[in-house]
């Protein structure tokens, strides 16, 4: 069913893992890269079901425990629809953080001896696994089965046969659960093991589970102690029938066992003879049934009986305790699931209980104020609400789109919730620091953006070809101007540049580029640097074909040396919500196949920048229908007119937020030289000012 389950820290150390089938560690690495670090394609879906992430043939679901910095990831084949893994994740999170609470709090955590967790996990899986499509069975339904069964199984073996006929109805639900072989569990000594056994036992038992346990029963007293209850109780039942509510017959279920039971009934006398030793061959089925009945039976009377039975032996108390613990664990799992269900509907904010009395409120307020100044305050949702709202409006004033601002504030909130402020740090300061960190993370590119380095490596070597850059954008944002700035920058580095007039639509566009090229070639002639020329086919032609022709021209079509190092393609400006014009971009991307596609966005635009960036990015798909550049679409943004907005550079954030594409250049003036790379620290400073 599952392929793997891993518990890892945010620092990347795997604390516990279980692998059912070999899963490449790349799968989880790409989950971390895409979702946690790049925060790409993540819908805010806290509370309800855990979000899913698909990679190759796997689906990954995860949940995290922020306070201890743990991530729980489950990996399974995408073909399966395992709705119960949500519950599994929740239960594992709660149990693991509880079981290893002390270790997780230690400062230099590098390793946890978590072998003990294996059985707990196995038990959980068995309890929760309801197959690939079914909804997990409700705890209530389990209870229902238990309640149903008692009436059927009140009396001695003689009547069991008759009871069995009544019993089947509750049974059908049972086979879903696979019950572990009890003897295996018994070998393990730790209390946790006891838990797990109990967890295993409590769900509706199945016949096959009880079978292995029966043989074990005979040889040792210890085993009898644990497994014994079934048998002993059966005997005991004869004595005090009312005490037991056994569902034994129910679990045996089928017609076949019932007929055997009838045989057992015939051999009642034999059994009596073998009483002390254990189960007779004939009694097997009955005993099996008894076991399941006993284990499934939550009645306290059973437990007591157990203890009585075992008291003579050393292990008795432990078995008894084991069963209680077992019951606890089971309840616990149910409680975890129930509470998570409850929290999915209502928000999880834990409001501290209102201190009663005037004095108490006053002191708590004073300490709260004091803490706010001195630090060491654990932040609650209420504490964060107001300063975060302030922070958000501050971002909006900086021209950050509302969508991006909201995402940033939520990421800061999740970062800081239940977090303790450092000493002598106020909430505001903590929020500012966290926001600066979030902005840095969003603006920092994943890989380096050394354009010159890319160009030199492309135009050198055996597979040399011209480096193709194309520029897209909405009307009037400064595509041609930015293009000529880039051309100037490349010329300074002594490249041979071919400028392609891909705007075959707007009158004057070609002439405009011609002027730029004339100026640039004059400049570069004076400075004795690179050369630049214009490639144009006039108006009315298909831009994609022009671009392709230009690239072939630059490569010199295989006739010796290539003529140009870099091809810069200008395109017609288009409204991002004009489907007809936008769709022609796809063809353009495929025919010209640029190494880099840069989109120009102006710093002046506000909320619309998000839509612009998204719509342009989604047009650039390759022939297989995949977005180019690893599913991002474009390679970078050029933000023009940055000199006109002062410190309201929020557009940077909005556009990067919308697409995850980095900002490569900033246009900061009217001259050819006014092109800058992005300094993340500078941008963050301006935004936080």
């Amino acid at each position: 069913m599952l392929d793997a389950f891993e518990i890892l820290t945010t620092s990347g150390i795997v604390l516990w893992r279980k692998e059912y089938a070999p899963v490449s560690s790349n799968v989880i690495n790409s989950l971390i890269n895409d979702v946690f670090i790049e925060q790409r394609g993540q819908k805010s879906s806290d509370g309800g079901s855990n979000p899913a992430y698909r990679k190759d043939k796997y689906t990954l679901r995860w949940t995290s425990a922020k306070d201890v910095g743990l991530i729980f990831v489950v990996v399974y084949q995408s073909l399966l629809h395992l709705s119960w893994v949500d519950n599994l994740l929740r239960a594992v999170r709660a149990l693991f953080t509880k079981q290893y609470a002390t270790e997780l709090k230690k400062p230099h955590l590098t390793n946890i001896d978590s072998k003990d967790f294996d059985p707990t996990f196995d038990a959980l899986v068995r309890k929760l696994d309801t197959g690939s499509t079914r909804r997990p069975s409700e705890p209530d339904s389990d209870a229902g089965v238990i309640e149903l069964t008692p009436p059927s199984s009140t009396v001695s073996a003689g009547e069991e046969g008759a009871d069995e006929d009544d019993a089947p109805p509750p049974l059908p639900g049972a086979p879903q659960f696979k019950k572990p072989a009890i003897p295996q569990r018994q070998k393990q000594e730790s209390a946790i093991v006891d838990d797990t056994t109990s967890a295993d036992i409590t769900p509706v038992p199945t016949p096959d589970a009880s079978r292995p346990s029966t043989p074990a029963q005979a040889p040792s007293h210890l085993l009898t102690a644990k497994a014994g209850p079934g048998k002993a109780s059966r005997r005991a039942r004869k004595a005090n029938t009312s005490a037991f509510a056994t569902s034994a017959p129910a679990s045996s279920g089928d017609e076949r066992p019932s007929s055997r039971a009838k045989g057992g009934k015939a051999s009642v006398k034999q059994k009596r003879r073998w009483d002390a030793n254990g189960v007779a061959t004939e009694g097997d089925d009955d005993a099996v049934l008894d076991y399941s009945a006993v284990t499934s039976d939550p009645a306290d009377g059973e437990g007591e009986l157990d203890v009585d039975d075992v008291k003579a032996e050393d292990m008795g108390s432990r078995t008894g305790k084991g069963q209680f613990v077992l019951k606890d664990l089971d309840d616990e799992v149910d409680a975890i699931l129930a509470s998570s269900k409850a929290t999915s509907t209502t928000s999880t904010s834990q409001t501290p209980s209102d201190p009663s009395g005037l004095l108490n409120t006053a002191t708590s307020k004073i300490t709260g104020l004091f803490r706010n100044v001195v630090g060491g305050k654990t932040l609650s949702k209420a504490d964060l609400q107001q300063p975060l709202a302030q922070m958000q409006s501050h971002l909006l004033e900086k021209n950050v789109a509302r969508e991006a601002a909201e995402r940033l504030t939520t990421s800061v909130e999740t970062d800081l919730l239940h977090h303790k402020t450092a000493s002598f740090t106020s909430i505001d300061k903590t929020i500012r620091e966290s926001m600066a960190k979030a902005l840095t993370r969003i603006l920092t590119p994943t890989s380096s953006l050394d354009l010159l380095r890319n160009i030199t490596s492309t135009i050198e070597g055996p597979t040399a070809r011209p480096y193709v850059i194309s520029i897209v954008g909405v009307n009037g944002v400064g595509k041609s101007t930015s293009l000529s700035k880039i051309a100037y920058f490349l010329l300074q580095n002594k490249f041979r540049v071919l400028v392609v007039a891909g705007d075959t639509f707007r009158s004057g566009a070609v002439e405009q580029l011609r002027v730029h090229v004339r100026n640039l070639s004059e400049l570069s002639r004076r400075e004795n640097v690179g050369t630049v020329e214009l490639f144009e086919k006039g108006y009315g032609k298909d831009a994609a074909t022009v671009a392709r022709d230009a690239v072939t021209h630059a490569t010199n079509a295989g006739k010796g040396e290539m003529l140009y190092d870099v091809v810069l393609i200008d395109t017609a400006g288009r409204r991002h919500n004009d489907t007809r014009l936008m769709s022609s971009l796809t063809k353009f991307g495929q025919l010209a196949n640029p190494d880099k596609i840069f989109m120009v966005g102006e710093a002046l635009v506000g909320t619309d920048s998000v839509a612009q960036a998204r719509n342009f990015a989604k047009e650039f798909v390759d022939t297989k229908g995949q977005l180019r550049n690893h599913g991002v679409g474009m390679d970078g943004f050029i933000i023009s007119k940055c000199d006109t907005v002062g410190d309201m550079v929020g557009t940077l954030v909005s556009m990067v937020h919308a697409t995850g594409i980095p900002v490569v250049f900033l246009g900061v003036g009217q001259h050819y030289g006014d092109l800058r790379g992005l300094n993340v620290g500078w941008a963050v400073d301006k935004l936080m000012k």
């Binding site: 620092s11 795997v14 800058r676």
Partner: protein, 291 residues
């Protein structure tokens, strides 16, 4: 009521000019600063553990190395998102410089140090740069590279650019020091990890490849565009932005010694072939030397 009256009587005594009240006041006023001093002193002292910083591109094996140094065995790891730290002790076979003359058989406690792990992902390198500038007790940097990934041009460029950034930061730290007293020199060890992998480059090759690539990075960086953050007034300080010997065509790690940065390349592997223990003796040796 009863509580009120006791409080009242207690207050009356506290403000009365009786000898006992004065004595108690004196004792409190004299002792409290001493106690506070001891408390703060304890707290501050515990932070002074020498530390080493783990740097390097993502997937090089930093976190694995951390777990290996801390626990003796390397755990399975994934991409890190947050920095972490671990308390490590030198193994008994390695002697730190200060303990050089200690007997081989002296098995008393080995010096402890703190190993700081940083995420190598491109977006999260600010953690590393921050801890580089803020940590006070830093004794050295361990730059982990995947020797197998260096044979591809993308892996080499990634590793070299990050190393370039760090070395430039160290150089600026040295040249930009305000006082005449140099900041403490930080040695750098380039740990050529994954030497067990078949396609990995030998240690010497790792060194030359990185040097060549840094020279190329340096060349394009010097020709690249200015940052948006740089004002016009300090545009002329080109020399400060040049790593190593100014104007030199080739780059060698030897050029860094002028700036108080000693760079060594040591090979090893966190994981051994076929479940054997990795080869980390060289790295331990370097840590011992610099502790």
């Amino acid at each position: 009521m009863a509580g009120q009256s006791t409080l009242e009587s207690w207050l009356t005594w506290a403000f009365s000019p009786s000898i006992s009240a004065i004595l108690v006041t004196l004792i409190i006023s004299l002792l409290s600063p001493i106690l506070i001093h001891f408390y703060l002193y304890r707290k501050a002292q515990s932070k002074e553990l020498p530390s080493f910083l783990l740097l390097g591109p993502s997937g090089a094996g930093k976190t694995s190395l951390l777990t290996l140094f801390a626990n003796g065995t390397s755990s399975k790891t994934h991409t890190s998102q947050t920095p972490s730290s671990a308390l490590c002790a030198l193994p008994s076979t390695i002697r730190s410089t200060s303990d050089r003359y200690r007997s081989e058989n002296d098995t008393s406690s080995q010096p402890q140090f703190l190993l700081l792990d940083t995420p190598g992902h491109g977006k999260l390198r600010h953690h590393a740069l921050a801890s580089l500038t803020t940590s006070t007790a830093l004794k050295g940097l361990i730059y982990v590279v995947d020797s197998a990934a260096l044979s591809s041009s993308a892996g080499l460029t990634g590793a070299a650019e990050y190393l370039y950034d760090i070395l430039l930061l160290l150089q600026k730290r040295h040249t930009g020091a305000k006082t005449s007293k140099d900041p403490q020199a930080l040695p750098v060890m380039i740990a050529a990890n994954k030497q067990d992998v078949f396609s990995s480059l030998p240690t010497q090759m790792v060194k030359t490849k990185l040097e060549e690539e840094i020279a190329r990075v340096r060349a394009t960086r010097s020709k690249g565009l200015m940052d948006s953050g740089v004002g016009m007034e300090d545009a002329g300080e080109e020399e400060r932005e040049w790593l190593g010997e100014y104007g030199a065509e080739a780059f060698g790690f030897g050029q860094m010694e002028e700036h108080g940065v000693e760079v060594v390349v040591v090979g090893g592997s966190v994981r051994g072939e076929g479940g054997e223990k990795g080869d980390v003796e060289g790295w331990w040796g370097w840590v011992g030397e610099n502790l």
